[in-house]
Symmetry: C2
Subunit: 467 residues, 2 copies
C-alpha cells in the first residue's frame, strides 16, 4: 500500500512534466502559504551526526546492526522541508526519507486528519482486507487509488510495501502465464497439486522473469532476484537463475548524442531478444519483464520512449510487461493479470487503510495548493541550476537529468560523490546518492523555488570549495 | 513490525499457560470492565454475507479478485469482541482478523492514544528507520519490543510484516552461514561480488533452508518456498529447491498415545537428518531450519518439547534454528545472526513506529487489566468445553488442543468443518479454519469466560443440529 505513495508521487511529477497546460492556469502560492512557521533556512550547529546522535547510535548498535543510520531526528520539531536532528541542526531535506514524505514533516493538514474520530478508528481497527474489509473500502480504492492510476490500469490489489507488491505482481505474472498454457481449463492436475507443495515442477514451474542491470525492485528473495543495483544487497543470498539484460546507459545531453544513444537502445534490445531465446532453450522460459521507467536506486538511469515501445513489442509477442517503481504503481494490475481463484494473491492484511487515509490527505493538499505547478517551477529552477554547474564545473559534474523535481546529476568519481553529499550536509542540506556516481534530489512536493535557491546556493559553494 | 503483535500475542498466551502462579494473584474483572457498551451477545438479522455486503462485494469484484471476502464490516460500530457487519449483524468474533486484533475493536485506550499530539506526529512522520530514526527509537525498541522478547534474544531488527520479517531472517541465516565459511575474513572476493549481481554462485550461493510439511511462513517467493500448508498458495509459482521434512502428526489425547507419538517424533527427526545428508550431497547444503512451534495455518499442529530439543541438537551441529510465527517473534534475532556490514538486512522504512505505538498501548492494557489471567481462565473454559463436545459428539470432533485461548479442534471431514464454520456464523459466531480439518479459535485477549460460554453454547447447538 505504502508503495503507492512513492509511485504516485512520481506519477504526479511525470504528469506535471508532461502537461504544461495544467500548470499555466495555476497561480503559485508563496512558500509561506504551504507550511506556516517553516525555518527561513538551514542551521548547522554541530557535526552531523552530532554528539546526541552519536550517543543514540551507540545505544541502538547494542541491539541491532545500525551502520546505515546517518542521524537521529527530532520529529516533533521537524517541519515542512526541514529535518531537525536531535542536536538541533536544521537541514533542508532534499531527500525526504528516501523519497517517501510527499508533504514534508508535520504538514498541518495531515495532523488535522487525526482529529476526526472516524479516521482514528481507521488507525485502531486494522482489518484483514482480503476477508473482512470495511464498508468504505471499495469506494476508497476507487476514489483515491484509481483516481491517480493511469486509466488503462483499472484493477487494484493493495499490498504491504514495495517489495511485497512486486513479489505479488510477479506471482500474478506466473499465474497468468501458466493459465495461458492451460487454455480454457481451470483445473489443476493432481501432479501439479502434489509437486507444488514440495517446490517441484510441474506445480512449481521452471519459469523466469527478466530484469535489468542496475535495477532495484526490492530485497525479499523473489524481488532480490530482479534487483541488480549494488552487490551488498545480494551477496551471500541464494537467487533464482533468471536473465539479466543491459539497461541503456546514455550520454547527456540527450539531444547532442542521439546517434550513440539510439545505438545503445539497439544493443540492449538485441540482448533482451537473445536472453529470451537462451532461457527458453534452457527450459526456463521468460514469463515477464520487470523494468523501471527510471532506474532510481541504480543511478537515476532513464531509457527512451523508443526503448520501452520496443520492449513492449517484444514482450507482447509472449508476455505482459510489468513496469514498476517509478511510473506505474507496482500493485495496480490490468485485469488480464487477475487470478481466476481467490487466496492466490493474498495475505493477512493486504495493505493498510491508515496509509490510504494519509494518501487521501496528501492528494487533497496537492490539488488545493496546486502543488503540481510548484513541482514544475521548482524542478525547472533546479535543473537549470544543475546544468549551469555542469558548465561551471565540467570536471566535477555531468548528465543532469530527470522530471519535475525527481532529478539527479552524475559526479566524476564515487569518492567525489560521497564527499559532495557529506559537505552538503555540513552546509545544512540533506541529499542522497544513487548508483555509484550520482546525487539524487527527491524533495517534497512543497519544495518551492525559494527552497531550490537555497539548495543551489549551498551546492555551488560546495562545488567551488572542491579542491 | 506488525508481525510482532501476533507473535507477542501468542507469547503471552504461552506465558499465561505456563506460569499459573502469576494468574492466581490476579483478580478477574467483570467483562463489562473491559469494554463498556459491548453487546450482550450476537444478533443475526440477515444471511452473512447479507444484501449490503453482497452489493459491496459486487463493487469490489469489478476492481480486484475478491473471492476471499466473507463480509463487509462496520468498523464504526464494531466493539470489543463483537464484529458488526454492514447489514447490522453482530458477530461474536473468535477469529479477530486472522488473529491480529489483540484488544478487539475500538478499544477505548487505543482510541485515546491518538488524542496525544506526540502520537499523531508519529503517525504522520513515518521515517526511514534504518537511516533517520527518531530520538525515541532506541528506547522504544528496548522498552516495548525487548521487554516482551525471551531474554536470550537480545537483538531486534524491525521489518514491514510477517513475510518481510521471515525473508530477512532467512537472509540473516544465509549471511551468517557464508561468513562462517569465510572465517575471520570480512572481505568478499571479486568473483563473489561479480557473480551475485547476476544471481550466480559463488556470490549467490547454492544453499537451502529446511522447512516442514504443513508449515506456513508467508507468501513472498522466499517465504513461500518454506510454506507447505495448502497447494493454492503455491501452484504456478516458481520455488527454490529446498528440503521439506515431515512435521509430527500426533494422536490425541497426548497422554494416552505417548508411544505412537514418540515414534512419530523419531520418524520425523530421522527424515530431517536424512534430508540434511541428501541436500549436502546434491550441493545445496542446509543453512538453517525454519519451524513453527505450533503450525497454525497448517492445522494447529503441535510438536513435543522433545522434538524441538532434538531438532535444536541436530541444527547445532551445523546451523541456527530459526523458530517463527508462534513462539519467538520472527524478527528478533540473536546477536550471532547480526550481519557485519550495514545495508544487507535493510529496506526503506524498516518497520513502522505507528504500529509500535499501538503495541505499547496494547501492552499497557494487558498489564493493567491482568489480561493474562483472563486468557488463562477463558482458555481453560474453552478447552474443557471442546473436550466435553468430543465426548458428546465423538463422530464429529476430536483432538481438541492448544494453549491459553489459542485453541483448535479437528473435525471428522473437511466438508463437516466448513459446514460447522458456516452454521456457527448463522448463529452469530465468527470462527476460522486451519489445515483441512480444523476449526481454530483466536479470540482477543479481552475474551472473557462469559464470552466463552456464549461460544460454547452456540457451538453445542450447531453440533446437536448436525445431521
Amino acid at each position: 500500500m505504502a508503495q503507492i505513495t512513492r509511485s504516485w508521487l512520481s506519477s504526479l511529477k511525470r504528469i506535471s512534466q508532461q502537461n504544461g497546460s495544467v500548470q499555466k492556469t495555476c497561480a503559485l502560492r508563496a512558500s509561506s502559504a504551504f507550511i506556516a512557521g517553516e525555518p527561513e533556512g538551514p542551521t548547522v550547529k554541530t557535526d552531523v551526526p552530532g554528539p546526541k546522535s552519536k550517543q543514540l547510535l551507540n545505544e541502538l548498535s547494542v541491539i541491532q546492526q545500525a551502520g546505515s543510520v546517518q542521524l537521529f531526528a527530532d520529529y516533533e520539531r521537524s517541519l515542512g522541508n526541514y529535518l531537525v536532528d536531535v542536536d538541533g541542526n536544521v537541514l533542508l531535506d532534499v531527500y525526504t526519507q528516501i523519497s517517501s514524505m510527499p508533504l514534508g514533516y508535520n504538514h498541518p493538514d495531515l495532523l488535522q486528519l487525526l482529529n476526526d474520530p472516524y479516521n482514528v478508528k481507521t488507525i485502531v481497527n486494522r482489518p484483514a482486507l482480503g476477508v473482512f474489509p470495511g464498508a468504505d473500502w471499495p469506494k476508497k480504492l476507487k476514489n483515491i487509488l484509481l483516481q491517480v492510476a493511469p486509466p488503462e490500469l483499472n484493477h487494484v490489489t493493495t499490498m504491504m510495501c514495495g517489495s511485497c507488491s512486486n513479489e505479488n505482481a510477479y506471482k500474478s505474472i506466473f499465474i497468468w502465464y501458466q493459465q495461458k498454457q492451460r487454455g480454457s481449463s481451470t483445473d489443476f492436475s493432481r501432479e501439479e497439486i502434489e509437486s507444488c507443495v514440495v517446490n517441484q515442477p510441474p506445480g512449481s514451474p521452471s519459469l523466469s522473469l527478466m530484469s535489468f542491470y542496475g535495477a532495484f525492485h526490492g530485497r525479499t528473495l523473489g524481488a532480490l532476484s530482479t534487483t541488480h543495483s549494488k552487490y551488498i544487497h545480494k551477496i551471500d543470498i541464494p537467487a533464482f537463475d533468471w536473465p539479466v539484460a543491459s539497461f541503456p546507459q546514455y550520454r547527456y545531453p540527450l539531444e547532442e548524442n542521439r546517434r550513440e544513444n539510439d545505438a545503445e537502445d539497439k544493443r540492449c534490445l538485441a540482448e533482451v531478444e537473445d536472453l529470451f531465446a537462451q532461457f527458453s532453450k534452457k527450459g526456463k522460459p521468460v514469463a515477464g519483464i520487470v523494468v523501471e521507467p527510471i532506474q532510481a536506486e541504480g543511478g537515476d538511469n532513464e531509457a527512451s520512449p523508443h526503448f520501452f515501445q520496443e520492449l513492449q513489442r517484444i514482450a507482447k509477442q509472449d508476455m505482459p510487461l510489468q513496469k514498476t517503481n517509478n511510473q506505474l504503481p507496482d500493485l495496480i494490475n490490468s485485469c488480464c493479470l487477475r487470478p481466476l481463484q481467490p487466496y492466490r494473491v493474498f495475505n493477512t492484511w493486504m495493505g493498510d487503510p491508515s496509509k490510504l487515509l494519509l494518501l487521501q490527505g496528501v492528494l487533497e493538499v496537492v490539488r488545493r495548493d496546486s502543488l503540481l505547478a510548484v513541482v514544475q517551477k521548482s524542478g525547472e529552477k533546479l535543473l537549470t541550476g544543475l546544468r549551469s554547474f555542469e558548465q561551471e564545473f565540467p570536471h566535477l559534474l555531468h548528465s543532469a537529468r530527470g522530471r519535475g523535481t525527481f532529478l539527479s546529476v552524475t559526479c566524476s568519481s564515487a569518492r567525489l560523490r560521497d564527499d559532495l553529499i557529506a559537505r552538503l550536509k555540513k552546509k545544512g542540506v540533506q541529499t542522497g546518492g544513487c548508483g555509484e556516481l550520482s546525487i539524487r534530489l527527491r524533495p517534497a512536493l512543497i519544495f518551492t523555488p525559494k527552497h531550490a535557491d537555497i539548495f543551489l546556493d549551498r551546492f555551488r559553494q560546495v562545488l567551488k570549495e572542491t579542491k
